[in-house]
Amino acid sequence: MRILQTHKSRIPDAPATGSSINQVDWDLLWERFGTAVVTITIWLIAGLSTPRFANVDNFVSVLRQSAFVGVSAVGMTFAIIAGTFDLSVGSTQALCAWGAVSVAKVAGVFPAFVTAVALGGVIGLCNGSLVALVRIPAFIATLGTMFLVNGLTYILTNGQTARFSGKPFVWWGNAQVMSLPVPFVVFLGCALLGAAILHRTSFGRFIYAIGCSREAANVAGVPVAKTTILVFIVVGLFTGLGAALLGARLYSAGPGLEPGFELNVIATVVLGGTRLAGGRGSMLGTVAAAILFATLANVLNLSHVDAFVQRVVVGFVLLLALSVEGVRQRLAEYWSKRAARIPQSSQPL
């Protein structure tokens, strides 16, 4: 066969690139802003239906509450974008919070935070090593650490809660700066830091690349194992920080803190538009989703909704928000199929 070459000057633009521009990428838009829209909608509805919602104290309360899941969710966003997962954050949180409160009692605030963050980091390192080096699927590895750390916390604490109400410590959980609650400020700081890492460092790029395709990332020279371990460490660090804040907020911490925390964190990240399969997602969404969940809990309480019904509503909102894209695609598909069927509907197959 002869090989042919084109005249370079006469090459038209590739058709595939031009077509997607004038058309709205709903998928991407919803992923970016969907959660924010839902949050605002809920604020609107809440503001209109319960006057108690719209006062400063209440906003402070909502924002503060969003922080405790939120800080951990910042870390989890890294993990989920990288296409993995951490089920152990609940157990980790309990252990770290207990560590923070116990250390705060004897050594002060700074060592307390360092302890919590370091404990989180160590657990993250274990998770990361299990996943990246021993190659246990993340779901199983972190399920195992979840049980393990949970049991360890009970053994270490002998089932007892540690308590400390020293002012400098609890300031971190309860005070306000410039009328914003301290935990929320820390949360925003974490989110900004997280966004910076994701978008402005090579580590962040590696995370997106690995989430998109592990194999391609490896071939492209991304240090997959190292990055994976680092991702789990990051999850641990943020979870440790969030745990210290929660310990400060509650003046206390012990085993069995916040049942189902890991699922809340994952739900928050996914609700924020980060794709569970990895490769896509943003911090903005995570922040919006954390506020959304806190708002929802608050609004339901303010509207005196029965606790049993609350469970149903929260689950429903989660499903609703995540079905929007699927429903839109379904509808589009339906219309195209219908359109195809109409002219021929009378004909036999």
Binding site: L130, V134, R135, I136, P137, F139, I140, A141, L143, G144, T145, M146, F147, L148, V149, N150, G151, L152, Y154, I155, G159, R214, E215, N218, V224, A225, L263, I266, A267, V270, L276, A277, D306, A307, F308, V309, Q310, R311, V312, V313, V314, G315, F316, L318, L319, L322, S323, E325, G326, V327, Q329, R330
Partner: protein, 317 residues
């Protein structure tokens, strides 16, 4: 007739079997009461409850999915049955409970297949919704059936064990020998390809989720029969135990493969650990530590083994 069947992944289940023998051996040495018939029945009974929902979960995982809502489904079905036993009789009430479970499963399936929500999140949402529904249904109250000896049949003696074994056989048979079963594996293997070659993956998944719901319901019914009570708190956290026994049993989370025998052995292993530690009067604190270590140990062994097999392929050094 020499019908050759495809070779299956059996390695992992032999691993869990080995682990089971070792753990049981240790307990047999440490506690003289461990090997008494009464205690063994006891172990098998508590294994059965997890095994039944674990078997359903095996199907879900083989089809490439998950169901986190099984605990709530078990509670809801338990409440429905217990509340109906007096009105419509035991048999019909049991059927109603199973139907409730299957219906919840069907809804899970519809959310996954029709709304395109990933199963993990869909069933996570349903976890809270169904728990709420169970609490609303009972008004948060206990419904009890003292003196209802007929309903007790579901949990007394060998019934749970027999139910688990029968279910295991049926599901094994379905998986290996029926078209539906092969299509479950096909869907889990590669849903896209399966759709292209004419497998109705949506229908398959609806079926799978319904079965998972029904098995969760059956577990819930046995639990409620054990205590002759229905309440919305029943079976909290069952989902994680169920997933743990499936994983221990060697069914890979990637889908397309299933080890029914592995799941049975996994649930016995977990039951043996809990029972043994109780017999030895070891604090509950250590149960989770042991479970965690076992889970990681078993899978790490398996991972390292396949790793050695895989060294000749592309690696991530």
């Amino acid at each position: 007739m020499n019908a050759r069947k495809p070779r299956r992944h059996r390695v992992a289940s032999s691993q869990v079997g080995l682990m089971l023998l070792m753990v049981a051996g240790v307990f047999a040495v440490l506690s003289p009461r461990f090997l008494t018939p009464g205690n063994l029945l006891n172990v098998c009974t508590s294994a059965s409850v997890v095994a039944i929902v674990g078997l359903g979960m095996t199907l879900a995982i083989a089809s490439g999915n998950f169901d986190l809502s099984v605990g709530s489904t078990a509670a809801f079905a338990g409440c429905v049955t217990v509340s109906l036993v007096q009105q419509i009789g035991v048999a019909l009430a049991i059927l109603a409970g199973l139907a409730t479970g299957a219906a919840v499963g069907l809804i899970n399936g519809l959310i996954v297949t029709e709304l395109g929500v990933p199963a993990f999140i869909a069933t996570l949402g349903m976890l809270t919704i169904v728990r709420g529904a169970a609490l609303i249904y009972t008004g948060g109250r206990d419904i009890y059936l003292y003196g209802q000896t007929q309903y007790k049949i579901l949990s007394s003696g060998l019934t749970p064990v027999l139910l688990a074994l029968a279910l295991a056989f049926v599901l094994w048979f379905v998986l290996q020998h029926t078209r539906f079963g092969r299509h479950i594996l096909a869907t889990g293997s590669n849903a896209m390809s399966a759709r292209r070659v004419g497998v109705r993956t949506s229908l398959v998944l609806l079926g799978v989720f319904s079965i998972v719901g029904a098995t969760a319901a059956l577990s819930g019914l046995i639990l409620s029969a054990q205590v002759l009570t229905g309440n919305g708190r029943l079976a909290t956290g069952l989902e994680l135990s169920a997933i743990a026994v499936v994983v221990l049993g060697g069914t890979p989370l990637t889908g397309g493969q299933a080890s029914i025998a592995g799941t049975l052995q996994g649930s016995v292993l977990v039951a043996v650990i809990n029972n043994g530690l109780n017999l030895l009067n070891v604090s509950i604190f250590y149960q989770n530590v042991t479970l965690g270590l076992l889970l990681l140990g078993t899978i790490a062994l398996e991972a390292l083994r396949t790793d050695r097999r895989r060294t000749k392929q592309l690696t991530t050094r």
